[in-house]
Amino acid sequence: MSATETSERLRKTAERALARLTAASATGDVLLAESTSHEVRVRGDEIEFVKQARERALGIRALVANGDGTRSATTSTSDLEDEAVDRMVDETLALARATAPDPSAGLPNAGFAEDLPDLDLIVPADRNVTIEARIDDAKRAERAAREADPRILNSEGSQASSTFGEIVYGNTAGFVNGYASANHGLYSEPLAQADGHKQRDYWMTVSRRLDELEEPASVGRRAADRALRKLGARSVKTCDVPVIFDEMTARGLLGQAAGLVSGYAVYRQQSCWASQLGKLVASDLVNVIDDGRIPGGLGSKPFDGEGLPTRRKKVIDRGRLQTWLLDTYSGRKLGMESTGNASRGVGSGPGVGATNLWIEPGHQTLDEIIADTERGLLVTELMGMGFNPVTGDYSRGAAGLWIENGEIAYPVEEITVAGNFKDMMSGIDRIGSELLWLGRIASPALRVDQMTVAGE
C-alpha cells in the first residue's frame, strides 16, 4: 500500500472518531500511527533472527467540559474497524465522565501549525530496502568487529533495523494533519577476552536516511576498539577528581537536565531547578538548544503532539535557564504558553518531550580535554539509576579510562561517580567540539571540575 493510501485511511479513521466525540458534545484529539519494520541480528557467521512487523494503533483522548473544569481520559486500541473505533470512543467518554474536572485540561486555545515544512524525515526510495541488504549491513559490521583483533573471540551480535512510520494527529478544533518518517539503525556489540577476563562494549549509528548511516565496517571496528580498551580494567582509590563524560555518557546527563526543565516536573516541584527560571543553573560555557525543525533530525517533527508548531528555543543561554519545555497543560499550570514540546504516544495523553536537544559544541576535541587534565577520570559508561531529580543527588556506577598527566593511563571499572547535579552543571569547565547524534538528545564531551569517585 502506498504512503498516500495509508495516510488517507488513517485520516478517515481520525475523522470518524473526532466526529463521534463532537456528536457527544465533547472535545478531544486522536493519534493514529502505522508502521512497518524489520530488524535482523547476525552473530558470528549466523543470522540469529529476522523480524518483521506491521503495527497500527489508535489513541483517543476525550475531554468533557463542565462548569469548573474539564474531565479527561485516554484509551488506545489496535482494532481499527469502524465499529471498534466507535465503541472505543464511547468507552473513552464514559471513562472521562468518571474522573474529576481539572481547570487546566483541554486542547490548546489556538495557534495550531499552519506551515508544515518537509523536514526530510524519510527518503521515499529507502522504503525499497530489502531485509537481505540489512542482513548484509549487520554481517559486515559483525565481521569487522570480529576481525578487528585476535582478542575479539565472541559477541552478542550485530543488529540492523529499519522502521517506516506514518502518523495522523487530529483534534476537534479542526486540525488534522500527518507526516511520514523513518528510522534506520545499525548496532554492534563484540566481546574482548584476555587472561580469562571478558569485556563487552558497543557502537551504533542511527539516521533517518539509509545513506547517512556510518559504514558497517566502521561501526564494527569502533565497537571492537571500545571493548578492547576495557581489558585489564581495575578499580581506583576513592578520591575527588575532575570527571570527563564522553559523547555517549554526556548525552545521558543532558537527558537528565531535560527532565528537570519539563513543565510537569516543575509544577509538581519534582525538579531541583523548579525555582531557577532566569537564574544561572550551569557554568557560563553551557548553551542548550531545543529545535524541532532540524532537517533530518531524529527528534524533528513539523508539529507537536497537540498540533502546535515546533520551533527553536534556547533553553540555557551561557548558563542561564531561559525557558521550561511545555505542552499546553503544564504551561497552564505554570501560567505560560506551550513551547511546542508536547510529546504524544498512542498509548498516552500529551506529555513534555525535547525535540532535538543539544549542548552547543565548544572548541576543544576530547583528546585536547584529556591532555588538559592532570589527573582524572574519563567516563565511557554509566550504570544504574542513581539520580534523584528532586534533590539533584547523583550517584552512578561507572567505567572508563583513568587519566594521569594528561594521558590515558589504564581502564577502570567497579567505581561510582557521585555529586549533586546542580554542582555538576555549574562545574562544567570544558566542552568538546564534536556532537554525536544517536537520538533526540546529543552532547559534546563535558568535563566537570570535581566529583567523588568511589573505588577501593
Partner: protein, 481 residues
C-alpha cells in the same frame, strides 16, 4: 483433539474464530521449509489505570493490545513476524515470513495439535481486575491522598495510581500442543513529596501481584504502603551525605533481593551462557558464591507478580535451583537455548508481548534463609552501611559488574544502626560479591510485588527476595570520602 477446552482457547475461538484445524494449517505453512520448531503466539490484553495528583483523579486510561506472533526456528536462527490483526490470513502471511530463515523446502506432513490438559492455577481470581468499576479505584486514590496528608504535615503532594491488567494468551506449537493462560495483574503506586523549609524529598512505595483488585482496596493492604512512602520520604529529608569507598554492607530482607537479580540472575539466563558471553559461562559445578548461599528461581509461587502458570512458550513454570550451597547448578532456559545446550526448558521463556521474541528471563528469584539472627548480623559490623530499600539496578553480564541504588540506608556504627544517609549506588562484581556473603539471616522475605525487569528492550514483571545478609566489602558510591 482433546475434549477439554481451556479458558484461553475458548476466548480466542469465540472472539476471533480461531479453530484448531486452521491453526494446524498455519503452523504447517511455517513448517514447509526445513524448520525444527515453530509456534504461534496469540495475545489479547487489556490494561487500565487511574492516577491521582493534586488531590484529584485527573485522568483515566484504558488500552487494548491484540496481536499474533509467528516464529520459526532452525538451529540458532529464528524468523519472527507479528501483526496486530488476529486472523488466519494474517497468521498465514506471518508464517510465510517467519519461515524465510530457511531455504530448504520439505514436506511438512500432517500436524495434529491438541489442547493440553489444565495444569497449575496460580492466580485464580473471582473478579477480573480490569472489569472492576472505575469509581472504586477513584475512591481508593482519594482515601490514599487524605490518609497520606493526615500522617505528616510535611507531606506537600501525593501522587498515586492503580494499574490493572488482564492478559489472555494462547501458544500453539509444532510439538502439537495448544496451551493458554489468562493472567491478571494489579499494582498500586504511592509517591509522596515531602518538604521542610527548603528541603524536598520524595518517598515511594507500592504493592501488587496476580490477584483480585479487591485485595488492594482494603485499608489493611494499602495503609501500610502509604505509611512507608511517608516514612521513607521524611527520613531522607534529614539524611546525611553517604560515605564513599569500600565497606561492609548489611542488606535488609525482601526487596534488596534485587542484588541477586542483578549480581547472578541475569548471568544465569540460558542465552548468555549458550553464547558464552556471561561471567558464569561454563561454570556449572563450580563454586560461584559463599557456602550457605542457595539461590532459587520459582515461577510457581501463588499470586506473585513474577509467577506464571506457563511461560510464554507454553512450558509449565517450575522451581529451579540456580546455586546450591554456593555451587552453580543450573541455568534458566527457554526452548531455543535449552535445545541448543542439550538441557531441559525450565519455564523461563518470557516475552513482553506478541510483538517480541521470547528470551530466558527470571520469574521470582530469591535466596533461601540461613541460620543467623538478623540483629546479630548487624551487631557484628563495627563500621559500615545498612541498606534496606533500593531503587533500580543494572548489570553488565559479561564483566559481571552490577549496580543498584539504595533509597533507604543507614550508617552502622559499632554494631548499631546510626544516622540515615542519602541514596547511593553500590557497585560490585557478581561472582566476587556472592563469595563475600559472610552471614545469612533466618528472615527470608519476598518483595511486595513492584519489580519490572528490562532486557533487550523488553519489560516483564518479576519478583525478588532475600533474607538479611552481610557482604564483606563492596564499593559504596557516596560523596563523603
Amino acid at each position: 483433539m482433546s475434549e477439554e477446552k481451556s479458558e484461553a482457547t475458548e476466548f480466542f475461538h469465540d472472539r476471533f474464530g480461531l479453530d484448531e484445524n486452521q491453526l494446524a494449517e498455519s503452523l504447517g505453512t511455517a513448517l514447509e521449509r526445513q524448520i525444527e520448531y515453530a509456534d504461534l503466539f496469540f495475545e489479547y490484553s487489556t490494561q487500565d489505570s487511574v492516577s491521582l495528583e493534586e488531590g484529584i483523579v485527573k485522568s483515566g486510561s484504558r488500552h487494548i493490545e491484540q496481536g499474533v506472533g509467528v516464529r520459526a526456528q532452525n538451529g540458532e536462527r529464528q524468523g519472527y513476524a507479528h501483526s496486530d490483526e488476529i486472523s488466519i490470513e494474517s497468521v498465514q502471511l506471518a508464517a510465510a515470513t517467519a519461515r524465510a530463515i530457511s531455504e530448504q523446502s520439505r514436506d511438512p506432513g500432517s500436524l495434529a495439535i491438541r489442547t493440553a490438559a489444565g495444569g497449575q492455577d496460580l492466580y485464580p481470581v473471582e473478579s477480573i481486575p480490569t472489569d472492576v468499576a472505575v469509581s472504586r479505584k477513584i475512591d481508593l486514590l482519594g482515601e490514599i491522598d487524605s490518609y497520606a496528608r493526615s500522617l505528616d504535615p510535611r507531606v506537600k503532594e501525593v501522587m498515586a495510581s492503580v494499574l490493572c491488567e488482564h492478559r489472555n494468551l494462547l501458544v500453539v506449537s509444532s510439538d502439537g500442543s495448544i496451551v493458554g493462560d489468562v493472567r491478571p495483574l494489579v499494582r498500586l503506586n504511592v509517591q509522596v513529596l515531602v518538604g521542610d523549609g527548603n528541603k524536598m524529598e520524595v518517598g515511594y512505595d507500592g504493592m501488587g501481584g496476580r490477584y483480585e483488585l479487591e485485595r488492594l482496596l482494603t485499608p489493611d493492604a494499602w495503609k501500610p504502603r502509604v505509611e512507608e512512602a511517608v516514612r521513607v520520604g521524611t527520613l531522607n529529608l534529614n539524611a546525611d551525605e553517604c560515605p564513599a569507598g569500600t565497606m561492609d554492607v548489611v542488606l535488609g530482607p525482601g526487596w534488596p533481593g534485587i542484588l541477586l537479580h542483578e549480581a547472578v540472575g541475569h548471568g544465569l539466563e540460558g542465552d548468555f551462557n549458550r553464547k558464552k558471553t556471561s561471567a558464569f559461562s561454563d561454570r556449572i559445578g563450580e563454586r560461584v558464591a559463599a557456602e550457605g548461599v542457595t539461590v532459587i528461581d520459582d515461577g510457581t509461587l501463588i499470586e506473585r507478580r513474577g509467577s506464571l502458570n506457563v511461560d510464554d512458550e507454553g512450558t509449565p513454570t517450575q522451581r529451579t535451583t540456580l546455586i546450591e550451597d554456593g555451587i552453580l547448578v543450573g541455568y534458566m532456559q527457554d526452548r531455543l537455548n535449552a535445545r541448543l545446550m542439550g538441557m531441559n526448558p525450565t519455564g523461563n521463556g518470557r516475552r513482553e508481548s506478541y510483538a517480541h521474541l521470547p528470551m530466558p528471563r527470571m520469574t521470582n528469584t530469591f535466596m533461601l534463609a540461613g541460620e543467623d539472627d538478623p540483629e546479630e548480623i548487624l551487631k557484628g559490623v563495627s563500621s559500615g552501611l545498612y541498606a534496606v530499600s533500593f531503587g533500580g539496578g543494572q548489570v553488565d553480564i559479561t564483566s559481571g559488574k552490577f549496580v543498584f541504588t539504595a533509597n533507604e540506608a543507614y550508617k552502622i556504627v559499632d554494631g548499631r544502626i546510626g544516622a540515615p544517609v542519602k541514596g547511593a549506588s553500590l557497585i560490585g562484581n557478581g561472582p566476587d560479591v556472592m563469595q563475600r556473603i559472610s552471614r545469612i539471616g533466618s528472615d527470608l522475605e519476598l518483595d511486595i510485588g513492584i519489580g519490572t525487569c528490562g532486557k533487550d528492550g523488553q519489560g516483564v514483571p518479576v519478583g525478588v527476595g532475600m533474607p538479611t545478609i552481610r557482604i564483606d566489602g563492596i564499593t559504596v558510591g557516596g560523596t563523603q570520602g
